[in-house]
């Protein structure tokens, strides 16, 4: 549908890596790479946001450097830290060496004692890596501003050593689950991509390609079932990973179609909250009617 060499290449790249995509995803990845801009990906949990970075790294044949964000993440965990224990040890050993204070200081504040954290790793990597900043919304706003600075200057200053400039600018992917609204400044620095839960066709496509041995009819029923489950009021809506886990489990059991008892006993694979499970159990007949009706029609 999209006719452009660059786009086709990305599409092919994604396909080769087993990532089932859609035009908007292809376009965003293409533009992020062409315009050298970070790509901000938002969407519910389990729709394959992180996966994009992995696929991209594989396709570009480069390394993936990942910074997992969490509450309280600060510069020492994102940038660098000195290896204090080794520094102390080194000082102790150099006690009788007759070195001057300046020499000692130069010794222990050298690259040898520097622990590189993801951001520093990314900008000093031997080739441009893919830098995945995962779940940025979990870190606080202070960290976001700090990150913004790194993303715009591509240099990090370490007081003891000096300024470290990026040897290669990494390709940056930022993901967010929308815990909190990200700052306007960060948004404006990035291209934006929203990924929704897959529709039936896309999910079926994914199941077929990731679980090759699966029975055709089972795959369809399973995907219909997942589509219906996602419409329920659940604590934790299952993502694609859950669908695949389930598909693999059932496929391994050589199941050919969904049965009520079977579903009941394997619900734990797709639902991870006991209230959700109970709710699904209660409305299982209803769910089955919907799924069953659809698959019957398909068989006609």
């Amino acid at each position: 549908m999209i006719q452009n060499e660059g786009l086709d290449r990305i599409q092919k790249m994604l396909r080769e890596q087993g990532y089932i995509s859609e035009p908007s995803i292809v376009m965003s990845i293409f533009l992020a790479m062409q315009l050298h801009k970070p790509l901000l990906i938002e969407g519910p949990a389990g729709v394959g946001k992180t996966e994009i970075a992995k696929v991209m790294a594989a396709a570009l044949q480069t390394d993936l450097i990942r910074l997992q964000c969490y509450e309280g993440l600060d510069a020492t965990h994102a940038l660098y830290e000195w290896n204090y224990q080794q520094q102390l040890l080194h000082l102790k050993m150099a006690e009788d060496s007759g070195k001057t204070l300046e020499e000692k200081e130069r010794d222990i504040f050298s690259e040898k004692f520097l622990l590189k954290r993801p951001l520093l790793q990314a900008i000093t990597h031997h080739q441009a890596p893919v830098l995945l900043i995962d779940e940025i919304d979990r870190a606080d706003e202070e960290f976001e501003s700090f990150l913004l600075e790194v993303l715009s200057d591509w240099q990090i200053s370490i007081p003891e050593i000096g300024t470290v400039r990026a040897t290669h600018i990494p390709q940056v992917i930022v993901t967010s689950n929308r815990v909190r609204e990200l700052s306007e400044a960060l948004r404006r620095r990035c291209l934006y991509l929203w990924i929704e839960y897959p529709d039936f066709d896309k999910e079926l496509h994914i199941v077929r390609s990731k679980v090759p041995g699966i029975d055709e009819r089972l795959a369809e029923q399973l995907c219909h079932f997942m589509q219906e489950v996602r419409k329920m009021r659940l604590e934790k809506i299952p993502g694609i990973a859950e669908t695949l886990d389930w598909a693999m489990a059932l496929s391994a059991l050589h199941i050919e179609h969904l049965e009520k008892e079977l579903v009941e006993s394997t619900l734990g694979i797709i639902l991870k909250d006991w209230q959700d499970i109970r709710q699904a159990q209660d409305s299982l007949s209803e769910l089955f009617e919907k799924v069953g009706a659809i698959s019957k029609l398909d068989n006609l």
């Binding site: 660059g6 689950n177 404006r188």
Partner: protein, 386 residues
């Protein structure tokens, strides 16, 4: 729908594609998109790298990727896109001379009345108030000597109190650390630095302790019809709260839930109102607390709530929704949050009993149930929370 192949025709008929893109950016800006020179440049560069252009779909996708930078903007983009080219088509066909396609979008004229209606509502038209009062029992009438009739000069007192409440709520321990004088945990980094000047002999030790951290607050505010009397206060309250304290998420609900954090984060109260009126469709409607809270649990709770989050619900508990769902949602919220505070404007009136069906369902999961109908009650609340 709109035939996209004509888009390309149009582009050829107009002077150049990039001129159109610039005009389109202007069109989006009118629609509230934040598009600066950077975004414009991105869009133009996207066209460059995509050239030669063959499909209208990729034009649309590339503009979407470069110009729409929030979920809301993405959702509306396709519609605006179609609208723009349609209007351009009309413009070009009607006078096929020259001229930038600067058409006024059709929806523009509707905005002022909408703002007006919310303002009227906030000022609480007297006629409507009495009409409202008749609907409910005498208990509620007693709650009238309160924020619904608050004087301007006491407003600053409310604001100040809210600032204090916000601050007292806010201080908790953080995962980050700060230097300490007591021996709590050894800070190697500072120890090393401290002793370096003595040639590396460790004589002094440095310590750190957890820093105080600001607490996350989630404000859930009932804006259904039964709460109309308190409307002015509620908006003031949430607005003041939000401005006193940045780490806060605000939602309003009647029959469904709306996130209004960003709308309230405006310097100017008027501007905040404008944004609010655009963002919240079902203002002053019925109440479905259960459904709304459930929506909150589903979409936001697992991420927004943690053991450092205080949830403040402001509602009278009048509910036409499902009480089971309410109690279920309250349980979820309670299990995930540090504290659940229910502020009820009716609770201040004499003889009030929290016996609405909704409140009874929610009661077991509430840590603090308090009145919030006048300045004194707020002062009580402050003492409560200290």
């Amino acid at each position: 729908m709109f035939n996209s192949s004509t888009t390309m025709e149009l582009i050829q008929r107009q002077t150049s594609l990039s001129a159109n893109i610039v005009a389109f950016c202007r069109f989006l800006r009118q629609k509230g998109y934040t598009i600066g020179p950077q975004e414009e440049a991105d869009a133009l560069r996207a066209l460059e790298v995509l050239a030669p252009f063959e499909s209208p779909e990729s034009l649309q996708l590339s503009l979407k990727a470069t110009l729409a930078r929030t979920l809301a903007q993405q959702m509306l983009f396709d519609e605006f896109y179609t609208q723009y080219w349609k209007e351009l088509e009309k413009a070009v066909n009607s006078k096929p001379k020259e001229g930038a396609p600067e058409k006024k979008p059709a929806g523009q004229g509707q905005q002022p009345p909408k703002v007006q209606s919310i303002k009227n509502w906030l000022q609480g038209g007297q006629a409507r108030e009495t009409e409202e009062m008749a609907t409910y029992s005498t208990h509620e009438v007693m709650g009238r000597k309160d924020f619904s009739t608050i004087h301007e000069d006491r407003l600053w007192e409310v604001t100040r109190l809210i600032h204090r409440i916000a601050r007292s709520l806010a201080l908790r321990q953080s995962r980050r650390r700060k230097p300490a004088n007591r021996a709590i945990q050894l800070d190697l980094r500072r120890t090393l630095r401290l002793n370096m000047r003595r040639g590396g002999e460790i004589l002094d030790l440095a310590y750190y302790e957890p820093a105080q951290r600001k607490q996350q607050i989630v404000l859930l505010c009932d804006v259904s019809k039964s709460m109309d009397l308190y409307s002015r206060f509620l908006i003031q309250f949430t607005y003041a709260f939000q401005n006193a304290y940045r780490r806060i998420e605000t939602f309003v609900f009647s029959t469904s839930l709306n996130r209004v954090t960003s709308q309230l984060r405006q310097r100017d109260f008027g501007a905040a109102l404008n944004e609010l009126s655009d963002a919240v469709p079902g203002w002053s409607g019925g109440t479905k607390i259960g459904e709304s809270l459930h929506e909150f649990c589903q979409a936001h709770a697992s991420r927004l709530l943690n053991k450092r989050t205080i949830v403040i619900i402001m509602s009278d508990g009048w509910d036409t929704g499902n009480p089971e769902l309410l109690s279920e949602s309250m349980r979820t919220i309670k299990s995930k949050a540090a504290k659940v505070i229910w502020l009820n404007p009716l609770a201040g009136s004499a003889g009030y009993e929290p016996n609405t069906l909704g409140l009874q369902a929610a009661m077991p999961y509430i840590d603090v149930f308090a009145a919030a109908h006048n300045v004194e009650s707020l002062r009580d609340l402050y003492r409560h929370l200290k």
